[in-house]
């Protein structure tokens, strides 16, 4: 009896291992066959992303990076503004300002069809801008279409011409009117709640790829739009694959299970000598910074803030977090280098611990204890925070690190609070310096520092309507100098996003690497 039981157990065990062994050989065949297929003509581009773009996207209220990547794949804007002399036209053939800079006339392409076959016309453009301007829709670009509390007026001239009328001159208007994706009027007409519309689950656009399938937590699949107005895409299928763990993603990329992934600088060395994967670091115009929470009493004195600035060591902080100067440049201004009127002719607060101590003494702030807020699961911010803590220690300032969840941090930033005295962050804004006003103008929507300087407010208002280029330049240079001098905002770094991509993929230059969306026009990619 006893023997029998043992025998049964042994049989069970053996069969289990056999089963395992049997299974392990199958996937190997699979992997091999995949590979040999891959060597011929892969028809799928798998881009790993570390967030879930979700099933429901719409051009009005979707504002997160991965949602916007999905939007960019499906929809097209009139044009993308990437700098003064770098405007990429999509649905518009041209856009021309009038001589007084009060009206802008857009000529539209006539050969564009929506993914469901309907023709694209000026009605769609007017409809989109009107929805974006409706307050209840919560559109991400609404504020940039409001000029001095007056909305821009959008009119249809004929089926392929749209006129934008500004309430007053704004030199940033050319950029502000662009980068907005156009939605189909025939699909969304009469929809009262765009953000929660069930239509968002099956988006219909004019972009290079059509939405095919969303698998919760797994992937979003797109297929080529053969009628794309800039020519049919060369890769038949694009998949955004959700991978929350960066280590797994890096390994999957090395192995070829995915074809692209934005990696951390600390992982870059793994791909240095790789034949299968090449690194494409590109500038997103991001400014990473240390900012002060001015509702907190401890840092309300300018001298204290300057003392802190003098004790920081930019090089040290940036090398620790971005490893190599291939992946960052030191930032000194509130504007990224790509922005119009950028200047580094500002106070750079060269590390000077002695000066720092003097300033602290004259401000009467001895034995200063500060709290630094940052996103706890962000490896870059962890390192920045640690080095900042060290730097300030040398000047006799004790820093307590308050790591928290990204969502919690941004909720905190949006309200008046005193939970921490300074915080780490970063922004990707536009090219024209006017788009930065919401960060620094008193009581503005994104002014999380609660910074207020009447001179800065006034200059931003002047800069917006100044037509003369050299006068405008002087205004924005002054703004940059004043804000840095106030030391409420300490720019750390303009970092690059490092896209690690399958070496077989061609046309990356033509597709164009741009902030947020990664590719300006995915239809140009090919194997």
């Amino acid at each position: 009896m006893g023997r029998k039981n043992v025998n049964i157990l042994i049989v069970l065990l053996v069969s289990f291992f056999l089963l395992l062994a049997g299974c392990s050989s199958k996937p190997q065949e699979n992997a091999d066959s995949n590979k040999s297929d891959g060597a011929k003509t892969p028809d799928t581009f798998i881009y790993g992303i570390d967030g879930d773009p979700g099933n429901a996207v719409n051009v009005i209220s979707t504002g997160d990076r991965y949602g916007l990547m999905e939007i960019k794949t499906i929809y097209s804007p009139l044009y993308m503004y990437n700098g003064k002399d770098n405007v990429e036209y999509f649905l518009a053939e041209s856009i021309t300002p009038s001589e007084d800079f009060l009206t802008y006339t857009a000529k539209l392409r006539k050969d564009v069809k929506w993914h469901d076959g309907e023709p694209f016309t000026a009605d769609d453009v007017v409809f989109t801008y009107e929805q974006m301007l409706k307050e209840e829709n919560g559109g991400w670009a609404r504020s940039q279409l409001i000029f001095n509390n007056q909305p821009v007026k959008v009119e249809k001239v004929d089926d392929y011409t749209v006129k934008f009328t500004l309430p007053e001159v704004s030199m940033g208007a050319f950029e502000a009117l662009g980068n907005i994706f156009i939605m189909p009027k025939h699909v969304y007409e009469g929809e009262t709640n765009i953000a929660n519309s069930p239509k968002n689950a099956t988006p219909v656009g004019t972009g290079p790829y059509k939405f095919k399938e969303y698998k919760a937590g797994e992937s979003v699949t797109f297929e080529a739009n053969q009628d794309y107005f800039l020519g049919a895409p060369k890769i038949a299928k694009v998949v955004y694959r959700i991978i929350m763990d960066a280590n797994t993603a890096t390994m999957a990329l090395q192995k070829g299970e995915i074809n692209a992934f934005a990696i951390q600088p600390s992982d870059a060395a793994k791909f240095k000598d790789s034949k299968n994967v090449s690194l494409k670091p590109y500038d997103e115009g991001r400014v990473g910074y240390l900012a002060f929470n001015l509702s907190s009493k401890a840092v309300q004195s300018k001298e204290v803030r300057q003392a802190i600035a003098y004790s920081l060591n930019r090089d040290e902080i940036n090398t620790a977090s971005y490893v190599s100067s291939d992946y960052y440049v030191n930032a000194y201004s509130i504007l990224p280098e790509k922005a119009t009127y950028y200047t580094d002719n500002v106070e750079k607060f060269k590390t000077d611990t002695k000066k720092s101590k003097e300033l602290l003494a004259s401000a009467g702030a001895s034995d200063l204890k500060l709290k630094l807020g940052f996103t706890a699961n962000n490896p870059i911010q962890q390192k920045q925070a640690a080095v900042i803590q060290q730097n300030l220690q040398a000047a006799g300032i004790t820093v307590e690190l308050v790591g928290m969840d990204g969502t919690a941090l941004s909720q905190k930033m949006q309200s008046v609070h005193t939970d921490f005295d300074m915080y780490l962050g970063g922004y990707i804004m536009g090219i024209d310096p006017d788009t930065f006003n919401s960060l620094f103008v008193t009581d503005s929507t994104a002014n999380y520092m609660h910074y207020s300087n009447p001179k800065v407010d006034e200059l931003f208002n002047q800069g917006r309507v100044e037509k003369d280029d050299s006068k405008r330049e002087a205004i924005y240079e002054e703004i940059q100098q004043i804000i840095i001098e106030d030391a409420a905002f300490y720019p750390l770094v303009t970092n690059k996003r490092i896209l690690a991509i399958d070496s077989r993929i061609k046309g990356i230059e033509d597709a164009g690497l741009v902030p947020v969306y990664t590719f300006e026009d995915m239809s140009q990619l090919s194997y």
């Binding site: 006893g2 299974c23 979700g54 307050e135 995915i258």
Partner: protein
Amino acid sequence: MFKYIFKRIMQAIPMLVIISIICFGLIQLAPYDAVDAMTTPNMTEKTVELIKARYGLDQPAYMQYFYWIKGILSGEWGYSIVTHESISKDLSVRIPNTIILVLPAYFIALVLSVILGLIAGARKGKLADKIIDGLSSFGIAIPSFWMAMVLIFIFGYQLNLFPILGMHTIGDEGSFSDLFSHLVLPTIVLTLSFMPELVRYVRSSTIGQLSEDYVMVQQAYGAPSIGILFNHVLRNVLLPVITIVGMSLPMLVTGAVVTETVFGWPGIGTYFVKAIQGFDYPIIMAIMLLSSSLVIIGNLLSDILYSIVDPRIKGMGE
């Protein structure tokens, strides 16, 4: 016996109610407001009010609780406030994915640990015991994400035996062998992380049983020790294992959070982590309620099973 079962069920119901109140209460106490997740700073007061009214967030907390419970009882778990997807629909996709991963792993772990535990217990202090016990200590000490990374590196990358990402190869969704090859590595990780404690448990109860009188009697009769082990000791060791099996029911929902995240497995774990990051409070509440209810139900089931297997139990409660 039926009286005992009835009594245990009756005890479980108020527990479930209390659990649901605690889940709801904890979310109410969270440092930020649910409505923050749905609004953007540039919305006006009026817009925010409208959004609150639409989701019933302008009602007092106890009314919100009743709406919530009413919905859950009628199978309507509400909507994610981030993706606007129906939660019951999302759960119905993800729970099976997690079960596919956890159930086989748990079963394998159970079978292996009963065998290993018995051997270790029977050969207490000898080499086999030292190896098994040592490995268990090692297993308890190793974090499962690290083990997962090591397996991914060796078997997924260097030897290229198994895929490392997700449940399916893109474009090969219907294939069973594809699913199976994706299952192997995460299953091994889970099995190894479930096993050590079970082994320990079986081992210590085996040692306990071996000092019992009936074993001595069998030995006196000259029965072979393997026979004693599998005919007599095994049965008595397996009894308390029923309790463990019942209590591990909630693992079907939350037992694989770390492993799922590392392997990109589209189950409840990744869903839960994502919801917490995005402060998607209806999802957090749903999963909290689900897993805590499973704890109670699991306990209930194991108590009932135990009372059926060992009728002495029901006398103890009275």
